[in-house]
């Protein structure tokens, strides 16, 4: 087997998996803490990608788009939580599904009205537009390496934040046992808003990071939403660590599958999900539940 080719695919798979982690960790936290499913989470990714496209178009600098996606995403998420989602935590699943489905339609319609329905590409920042020699006969795109590094950094910050801060431990308590929050006398509203803002910011950051790697196009969030569901089902219930390992696994399986078994690659992740459901229906990396 071609070793440097394999190395490139492994790096691609990890980088795709880490982007998936940014999306699915927000999904799983929002689900775990508030018990609400957000089908529009993929649309937030789409909005992040379009934000990167617009901002690089204006200023020519992608690095400005990243903090903008993070901060804008946090504000937008807080606003969504406050204005809409807060009223749906105790509603039927069907209502939540349809509410967030409506958001997808409205976000896509807004995108179409403001920016049209064309495909766009986003320039890789000039500073990172070169290849890094990894082995003597193999070089890898510096931007992709930077994305890998940025995602690892975000994941580390997130784990530290969840493990070491008061808000983080409150969020963990809420994700494991939602009724704990009130027992401990914590401010549930603040936690909910923080979690929703974080999830939205991460999804939009993922979109902005991914924009130069693929074209920016209508409905681009749909595929990511569904693969993120696969990640959450494979990784396990409401756990960020599960989302991390699940995302890496799905990213690698999908990328390696497309490279080496292109005929069946589209199905590989679903077969993996079916196997996990048969073997451990609560997910591969789910913590033991009492």
């Amino acid at each position: 087997m071609d070793l440097s080719g394999l190395l490139a695919q492994l790096l691609n798979g990890m980088q795709y998996g880490l982007l998936l982690f940014l999306i699915s960790s927000g999904l799983t936290l929002i689900f775990g803490v508030m018990g609400v499913i957000n089908l529009a989470h993929g649309s937030l990714f789409m909005i992040g990608a379009y934000a990167a496209f617009v901002i690089t178009g204006w200023t020519g600098a992608l690095w400005l788009a990243l903090p903008a996606a993070l901060i804008g995403g946090a504000l937008f998420g807080a606003l969504l939580e406050r204005g809409l989602f807060r009223h749906f935590y105790r509603r039927e699943h069907l209502d939540q599904v349809l509410l967030t489905f409506a958001l997808i339609l409205l976000f896509e319609e807004a995108r179409s009205a403001l920016l049209g329905n064309d495909f766009h590409s986003v320039q890789v920042p000039a500073l990172l537009d070169f290849s890094v020699p990894v082995t003597p006969d193999f070089a890898y795109s510096a931007y992709r390496l930077a994305v890998l590094g940025a995602c690892v950094l975000v994941a580390l910050l997130m784990f530290l934040g969840l493990e070491r801060t008061r808000l983080g431990s409150a969020v963990r308590a809420a994700a494991e046992k939602p009724e704990m929050v009130e027992l401990l006398g914590l401010d549930a509203r603040r936690i909910h808003m923080a979690v929703f803002a974080l999830g939205t910011a991460l999804a939009m950051l993922a979109g902005a990071l991914a924009a130069p790697l693929q074209s920016v196009y209508p409905n681009m969030g749909d595929g990511f939403l569904i693969i993120s569901f696969v990640v959450v089902v494979v990784g396990g219930v409401g756990s960020v660590a599960g989302a991390f390992w699940g995302a890496l696994l799905i990213g690698l399986v999908d990328t390696l599958g497309k490279a080496y078994l292109p005929e069946v690659a589209g199905l590989a992740v679903y077969v993996l999900m079916a196997a996990v459901l048969l073997w451990r229906p609560s997910g591969l990396f789910a913590p033991a539940r009492g």
Binding site: L94, V232, V237, M273, L277, L278
Partner: protein, 313 residues
């Protein structure tokens, strides 16, 4: 989930008669529109068995609809409807059995995510492999309308009326069948699971098998709806399997009312009517659909069937 009482059934029967009489005075365009609503009603009604019956929200239901539609494409062209319809049901049921057996190992939102993912997998099968005949869809030959050697030849002019009657007949049969089913022990067990699954299990019911049976039956009936749409339009496309299509059926259910078996029928007609009316105002269909959903979710949580209390026993 309530079945309409005597007065409600009478009203439904009158409405069916009215639809059946449409060819006497309506244009072909409106007959086709009515057929669209009838097919949507079949689709939403089949999903109601899972959502309103067992209380499970599935987002992969469109896959079974699409498989029922593609059955006509996969079978030899021009064979009898007496073969294509059962084949559509059987293929959709097999797919539903596989998806259901795996997805029912999870509950709640995980069931929803799993059905969505498997539904998308089936979408990819018809979208990306040679099996489906291309991602833009394919034209198909309508199945022949013959039963036991008796053929019904339809002149082109009367085709829209004939399709309307077939769709109406199948929807009526589906509704009556489900209304009877809800009165059996199986129907009661299903409603019991919706109310409290743990209690039903404690009572000795094999709840997973009951839910799986409902899921498979719903899949087979969605296959009937898909078959009817393909037959009416002589065209199949992978979009029939897309999860947005399944979400629209959920909207019809919510629009019509979650608590009543006839709710999805009302919802489907309201949905198709709203869509048609909105084309007069704007070309942005998704905007209208999104706003309608917001309005229903925020203001009308019990659906249209919840407005007229007299409909309920």
């Amino acid at each position: 989930m309530l079945v309409a009482g005597r007065r409600g059934s009478l009203l439904l029967a009158l409405a069916a008669l009215l639809v059946a009489a449409l060819p006497l005075f309506a244009s072909n365009y409106h007959l086709q529109l009515a057929s669209t609503a009838l097919v949507a009603a079949m689709f939403a009604l089949s999903l109601q068995l899972v959502v309103g019956g067992a209380g499970m929200v599935s987002l992969g239901h469109a896959a079974f609809f699409g498989i029922g539609a593609y059955a006509i494409h996969l079978l030899p062209a021009g064979i009898s409807i007496a073969l294509t319809l059962p084949a559509a049901m059987a293929l959709a049921a097999i797919a539903a059995l596989a998806v259901g057996a795996l997805s029912l190992r999870t509950r709640g939102f995980f069931f929803l995510m799993t059905t969505l993912a498997f539904g998308q997998m089936l979408f990819f099968v018809f979208h990306d492999t040679p099996l489906g005949g291309g991602k833009d869809g394919v034209f198909i030959t309508r199945p022949a309308l013959e039963l036991f050697g008796l053929a019904w030849e339809i002149p082109r002019r009367q085709r829209a009326a004939a399709m309307l009657w077939i769709n109406l007949g199948l929807l009526a049969a589906m509704y009556v069948g489900l209304a009877l089913l809800m009165r059996t022990l199986f129907g009661r067990a299903l409603l019991g699971i919706r109310g409290n699954e743990d209690r039903m299990r404690a009572l000795g019911y094999d709840t997973r098998t009951v839910k799986l049976a409902a899921f498979v039956l719903a899949g087979a009936l969605a296959g009937v709806a898909g078959h009817c749409q393909a037959m009416t339009e002589a065209f199949v496309t992978p979009e029939m399997l897309a999860w947005h299509h399944g979400a629209e059926a959920l909207l019809m259910i919510l629009l019509g009312g979650l608590g009543a078996l006839h709710g999805p029928i009302l919802g489907a007609f309201a949905y198709v009517g709203l869509g048609e009316a909105s084309t007069l105002i704007t070309e942005r269909q998704r905007l209208v659909e999104g706003l309608v959903i917001l309005a229903v979710v925020l203001a009308l949580p019990r659906g249209l069937a919840g407005i007229g209390r007299g409909w309920r026993r």
